[in-house]
Structures are given as structure tokens and as C-alpha cells.
Amino acid sequence: MSAEVGVLIVEDDAMVRGWIRLSLRSSEFRVIGEAEDAARAVDLCERRVPGLLLVDYRLPDMLGTELVRELRREGLAAPAVLMTANTERGMNEVAREAGAQGTVLKTGSAEELLLALHLVSDGGDSFDGRHPKRPSGQSALSPRERQVLELVASGATNREIASALGLGAETVKTLLARTFAKLGARKRAEAVSAAHARGLL
């Protein structure tokens, strides 16, 4: 028998949380906390130490990918699995980029859920192959492009971005143009909005 793994469930739907709780009951996974939104999840992660995160992609206050990214920035190393109700194009790529180790579809199959949790808790990954791949035109943002976009989202001007990142103004312009092209955006607000929608920020 494997050691118990403490799971934090982050899911806004009480019905789904109830099903997950019951599905994990006879396994080595023990639910150590439940959060209905990202803010509560961050709070719980500070007070308890989850061995695994099971995170809904569509949370009321942010995307699950944003939450995983935030928790990774804060140093949480526990593997994370993102849940979605339906297949979404590019989901595996954005989940991986956010720092998650897997994705699972909420189909109601306890077997699928447990298999994904077993694989990631054993140090592997488990990305559901039913999510269509991201179109080739929509490549991921590079770390630098993401930094620039984060500063754009915070309201920084090109000059401020250049200063904050130690770059030249022309380099910032180039990075912005490349980022806009990847996101299919024409304006700064459109780029930020598109990046949020795809879980890239």
C-alpha cells in the first residue's frame, strides 16, 4: 500500500467536489482541503501542505492555470492536475506551461481520475490526449514575452518595460509585436485579454 497523499481540491462546483471526495475515499488519496476559488486555495496552501493539487480550469476568480502559475511562483512544488468539463484546444500545452503535471476530463469516471492522480503522484505526468493540440500558429510565449506582457497588464509603458527589464526601447517594441502576433491581438488590452483567456498569464 502506498503512503497517503494529501489532495487539495480546488473546484467551485459543490456537486463536483462531492463526487471527487467520494471517488477518492477508498484510495491512498486523502482530501486535506477544499477550495471553491483561487483565493481560498492560496490561503489553504499556506496553512496546509498538499501533496497534490486537483484544480478546476474555470474558477470564479481566475483560470486554474493562473492559480498553478501563482502557486509555483510561491514555491509550491506539489504536482498539479487541471480539470475541465470538456475538451479544449491547447489545454495540455497551457497546463504544462503553467507548471501542471496533468490534465483530466471531468467525465464522471473515477477510474480516469484516479489513474491521472496515480501517475502524477508517482512523479510522472498525465495529459489527457482528448484535448486537441494547440494550432501551430499559436506558439507559446517565451519567458521574455511573458514578462513583457505581464508588465503591459500592470499598465507599464514601453519605456517603463524597457527600464524594468533592462532592455532597449526597440527590443521592447519587437517583443510586443511578436507577442501581439502570437496572440492575434492588435492592441495592448486585446493582447492581455487574449493571454488571460488562454491561461498564458
Binding site: M15, V16, S23, S26, A85, K106, G108, S109
Partner: protein
């Protein structure tokens, strides 16, 4: 046409209760312990109660999107949205308009209507609406030559008067 983001949100509204139904059915089939037997009936009931209107809305959306003949007739919008004694003549489908008004918040603090320049604006009440409901309300407004507007102050459906 429906865009990808709305489609994902709509699928979420339909598939989540469906997954819960399947999940509890599996649990019941595999092991009837006390806790499952206690929790399953309420969860199954709640999931089915959420699924039914979502499927109805989806069928309504398909019906409108497919351009099927809707049952347009002369109606008094004031019968759906009280506006004193004033008659608000519109040409529309009573079944569709009734659903739109319901989505706009009839169950909570109700909706109100104002009239200006030949347009009736149905102002939303406070209600929790999902993406599918908003999508359907928008389709219904458009099918009646109107529009649904979302702003920082709330939600409003604008319909031309006959």
C-alpha cells in the same frame, strides 16, 4: 456563429452535471456503502435539475440559429414585464421572449422596462446567469431585431416596438 470561448462555457454548463450523474451512478454501481447511499440521491437530483434547463436552452439556441420558423405574432410585452398600464406592442414569439425575461432575472428582484424612441429596454434584475443563458438571451433579442447589452451597470435587452 458561436465563438470558441462561448462554446467552451456552454459545454461546461451541460457537461458538468452530466459528469456528476455518471460519477454517482458509477459509485452506486460499484459499492453501495452508507455514505454513497446518503449523498447520491441529492447530488443526482441537483445535477438533473441543472441539466434540464441547460438542455432546453441549448435546443432553443439551435432552433434560433438554424433559422427555423418561429411563431411570431403581435404581443404585449407588458404582459411579461409589468409597466404600469401601458401597452407595449411588439412582434415576437411569446415563448422565446418569456425565456429571455426569465433569464434577465424574473426570479429574483424582477425586471423593469423603459421606453424611448420606439425601443423597449428590459432592464435585468439581480440574478445569477451562466454563459449559456446569456447566449440564449442574446440570440432571442437578435431574433426580434433587438440586442442584449452588458455594461458595468448591468444587463439590458432592447427590443423595437411594433
Amino acid at each position: 456563429m458561436i465563438d470558441e470561448a462561448i462554446l467552451a462555457a456552454v459545454a461546461h454548463e451541460v457537461k458538468t452535471p452530466l459528469a456528476v450523474l455518471r460519477g454517482y451512478a458509477e459509485l452506486l454501481a460499484n459499492g453501495r456503502d452508507g455514505r454513497i447511499l446518503r449523498e447520491a440521491p441529492a447530488a443526482i437530483l441537483e445535477a438533473s435539475q441543472r441539466l434540464a434547463p441547460a438542455v432546453d436552452d441549448l435546443l432553443l439556441a439551435l432552433e434560433i440559429e438554424s433559422g427555423l420558423e418561429t411563431d411570431f405574432e403581435s404581443l404585449d410585452l407588458a404582459e411579461l414585464v409589468p409597466n404600469g398600464n401601458e401597452t407595449l406592442s411588439v412582434t415576437g414569439d411569446a415563448r422565446l421572449l418569456e425565456r429571455a425575461v426569465e433569464i434577465l432575472g424574473a426570479e429574483s428582484r424582477g425586471v423593469s422596462v423603459t421606453v424611448a424612441n420606439g425601443v423597449a429596454t428590459v432592464v435585468a434584475g439581480e440574478a445569477r446567469r451562466n454563459e449559456l443563458e446569456l447566449y440564449v438571451a442574446r440570440l432571442i433579442a437578435q431574433a426580434h431585431g433587438g440586442e442584449l447589452r452588458e455594461s458595468s451597470t448591468g444587463l439590458a435587452m432592447m427590443l423595437p416596438l411594433a
